[in-house]
Amino acid sequence: MERLRSILVRVAQAIPVVVGVVIISFVLTRALPGDPAVYFAGAAADEASIAEIRAELGLDQPLPIQFLYYVKELATGDLGQSLSTGQPVLSDLSRRLPASLELTIVALLISCCVAVPLGVLAATRPGSWVDHVCRVLVTTGVSMPTFFTGILLIYVFYYLVGWAPSPLGRLDFMYIEPDRVTGFYLIDAALAGDWETWLAALKQLALPALTLALFTMAPIARMTRAAMLAALSSDFIRTARAAGLTRSKVLYTYALRNALLPVVTTLGMVFSFTLGANVLVEKVFAWPGIGSYAVEALVASDYAAVQGFVLAMALLFVALNLVIDIAYAAIDPRIGFENQ
């Protein structure tokens, strides 16, 4: 009950955030230079046809009115039409979001699989050469601009060595997109039992996911190390050791589980950060995600698309925080009881 309440409180707290996001994204898009009416009127449009399009887009109204319209449409679940793709923003997003999510999640999985053990290793031997090597390694990863890493990887693994498939988005054109269930190709292909497509999708994922993983390893490894160090030096570890518990039990059941709390928080932050930041990776790998969508939309002053994107990200962020809270509550029984 207590926990349910605290989750509800979190949801309630998210409402002003979403409202804020709606307002800021509206203001931001209107502050963009450039006139979508002109842009989309086409190459040889004259004054009259521009005005016509402006009226059609509702851009001839004063800003507050436009905002009201926007909010009214939002309330009915209508995010508007993207001018640059010519699709309803909602359908654009629902098609592209799984692509971004799939990429980000796989990247984070790779990243965690490497960074968490590295962090634990470093924490068990603080100050040793292992520690220093880990630190240098992950720091190098985070120091490389993702687009640079991506291009280098393409150059080496696709262009020179030829191991990777052509960096053409989510699936090589030889394969047919699996039936859409979740939008995640790996899952959809597995559901359909089409392992050939599954493998092809995985291959396409490998390089972009690696690029992102390299970039996200550092915060995770750092936080794991710090949290492990803190956990290992706490009193209850001493109790566990004094009780004769085995080293692995002490390290994993006692220290690591406690250290996971801050790691989960970091992971959440990294996730939302990455989802926004894989714009560049998506561009390099022609990945049809929402990041590249946002860039195109922004450059084209495609109001509806930018607003829709930002709103989707904000909702995702809120949802993510909720998931983290729940994960936190699952790991840490103290959550929701602080006030007692």
Partner: protein, 543 residues
């Protein structure tokens, strides 16, 4: 049963090698309870960790021999040690809440040990764990099995820690300050429980404490440690009543107890005549119907519910009570760091509560009321050197030039007995006693008429406590200040105070002259407090 010969422990640190333990010899017979006492940093804990081989990385042990039941604990393999820990030798620690894994059910933590030492299988682990909990007198063990440490009180947690330690019936129990961090009343309950279990199971035990009184009460023999070495061992009665080593003598002297005067706490050579102390009769501070209610998340918390007391000119009033009874809240209000919900604080006839705490910093009466904090470390800004800390109130409240201020700081340091060369050290470079002196110097820098002392010696060793208490007595006489002395240590209150106010649950349950309240408490709560305080055997003063 356990024999320690020439045990050395050294740590490699940034500052070089620290010899924490330098050659200890100890013997412990089976069924015997050995107390190890000594001041902070004397190597008590390190010795016990060395026995268990659970030192931090960087610690190295060398010894001529540490044998336990024929096994050399220093040479034993890590696997052997794993089997010994928890099954043969167990440990319990101070601060029980921190000693338990915060996110694991206490029942599972007990199970972990049982399973590790094959005392239980998957199927009967739960039952055995509950059994172990019942053994340490945890009521509703079945229910508590599912609890997390944060859902249990401190005393309950300590029982769980004890249950973990005793789950596999070890033959030796090491208790490292098992009562520190607990309430006085809980302290007694826990110690009684430990003593009872030891007796029942015929275990040997090592009880580590800095409280000589406690050791004397519960142990057969006592070893006194100083600077990593044992300076004296003997039976409790002997060590207490006829200490041989000068250090032990000093330690015994410094332990507050019935019948001693405040100067008696100091080593003989430092005892100067006690200054005369004659409290006046004009009321300086009158607290009337003071109420403080906090808006907690789950409803209002009534921390202080209508407290009344008076402090006269030159008088020292003690404020005692269990943890959480509202002592600190009351003193914060009096010192105007906190606004009362209602009530009056009359200082020299003027109501201080009329000025909100927020703007009291600029009030001319600010300098008249000062405070010494419970935790000296916490009360010093880690970024400010000692001199700067003492200077702080002068900068803000005294109209002095730079040089005059520096001069005054030196005078104050001298007054509280702080060597001048320590003035430009940072807090972490000072010892506890030195930090306490800095705190006191700062509080008296602007010549307050009224000083609140919120457990100023709680974090200090007894010998340092003795010095600080005497310093307070001297200052009281020299500067003619009144004190409100907050403490939970009744022995200390008896030494220092003229009047005492006993609080429970935010209300005053008893007040009166110190001798009357202590000797003939009228309230049962007061009586239980007095009973729970350790009663060290009285040293033959003639010795």
């Amino acid at each position: 049963m356990l024999s320690i010969k020439d045990l050395h422990v050294a740590f490699k640190t940034r500052r070089g090698i620290v010899d924490a333990v330098r050659g200890i010899d100890l013997e412990l017979g089976s069924g015997e309870t050995l107390g190890i006492v000594g001041e902070s940093g004397s190597g008590k804990s390190v010795t016990s960790y060395a026995l268990m081989r659970i030192l931090d990385a960087g610690g190295t042990i060398t010894a001529a021999g540490v044998t336990y039941g024929g096994v050399d604990l220093i040479k034993a393999s890590e696997r052997q040690m794993g089997d010994i820990r928890g099954r043969e030798i167990s440990m319990i620690f101070q601060n029980p809440r921190a000693a338990l894994n915060p996110i694991r059910k206490v029942g599972h933590q007990i199970e972990d040990v049982l399973r590790r030492h094959n005392r239980a299988t998957r199927s009967d682990a739960r039952a055995k764990a509950i059994e172990a909990m019942e053994a340490v007198k945890i009521r509703d063990a079945e229910k508590r099995y599912e609890a997390y440490p944060f859902e249990l009180s401190g005393g309950m947690c300590q029982r769980v820690v004890i249950a973990i330690a005793l789950a596999c019936d070890p033959r030796l129990l090491i208790a490292d300050e098992p009562t520190t961090g607990l309430d006085i009343t809980t302290q007694k309950a826990v110690m009684d429980l430990v003593a009872e279990l030891i007796r029942e199971r015929g275990m040997s035990a090592i009880v580590i404490t800095h409280d000589l009184g406690l050791a004397a009460q519960y142990c057969d023999r006592i070893a006194v440690m100083k600077d990593g070495a044992v300076v004296e061992t003997g039976t409790s009665i002997d060590v207490f009543s006829a200490p041989k080593h000068p250090y032990t003598q000093r330690l015994v002297d410094a332990t507050p107890r019935e019948g001693a005067t405040i100067r008696r706490l100091l080593p003989a050579e430092a005892r100067t005549p006690e200054p005369p102390h004659a409290p006046g009769i004009t009321p300086l501070l009158e607290v009337k119907d003071l109420v403080k209610t906090f808006e907690g998340k789950s409803g209002p918390v009534h921390a202080v519910k209508g407290v009344n007391f008076t402090v006269h000119e030159g008088e020292t009033v003690g404020l005692v009570g269990e943890s959480g009874c509202g002592k600190s809240t009351t003193s914060s209000m009096v010192v105007r760091l906190l606004d009362p919900t209602s009530g009056q604080i009359l200082f020299a006839g003027q109501d201080l509560a009329a000025t909100p705490a927020q703007s009291f910093a600029r009030d001319p009466r600010r300098s008249a009321i000062q405070m010494v904090f419970q935790d000296a470390t916490d009360s010093l800004n880690p970024r400010h050197a000692a001199g700067r800390a003492i200077e702080e109130p002068l900068r803000r409240m005294a109209d002095l030039g730079r040089r005059a201020r520096a001069e005054r700081v030196r005078d104050l340091a001298h007054l509280v007995g702080l060597p001048q060369h320590l003035l430009d050290r940072f807090p972490h470079q000072l010892s506890g006693g030195q930090k306490a002196r800095v705190g006191i110097a700062r509080a008296i820098a602007v010549d307050p008429r009224f000083l609140i002392l919120d457990e100023p010696t709680a974090a200090l060793d007894v010998s340092i406590q003795a010095v600080v208490l005497n310093l307070l007595v001297d200052l009281r006489a020299k500067l003619n200040m009144s004190y409100l002395f907050v403490s939970h240590d009744l022995n200390v209150v008896r030494l220092l105070c003229d009047h005492v106010v006993v609080m429970q649950n935010g209300a005053v349950v008893e007040a009166g002259p110190v001798a009357k309240v202590m000797d003939a408490p009228s309230d049962p709560y007061t009586a239980s407090l007095i009973d729970a305080a350790p009663h060290p055997p009285v040293r033959k003063l003639a010795a």
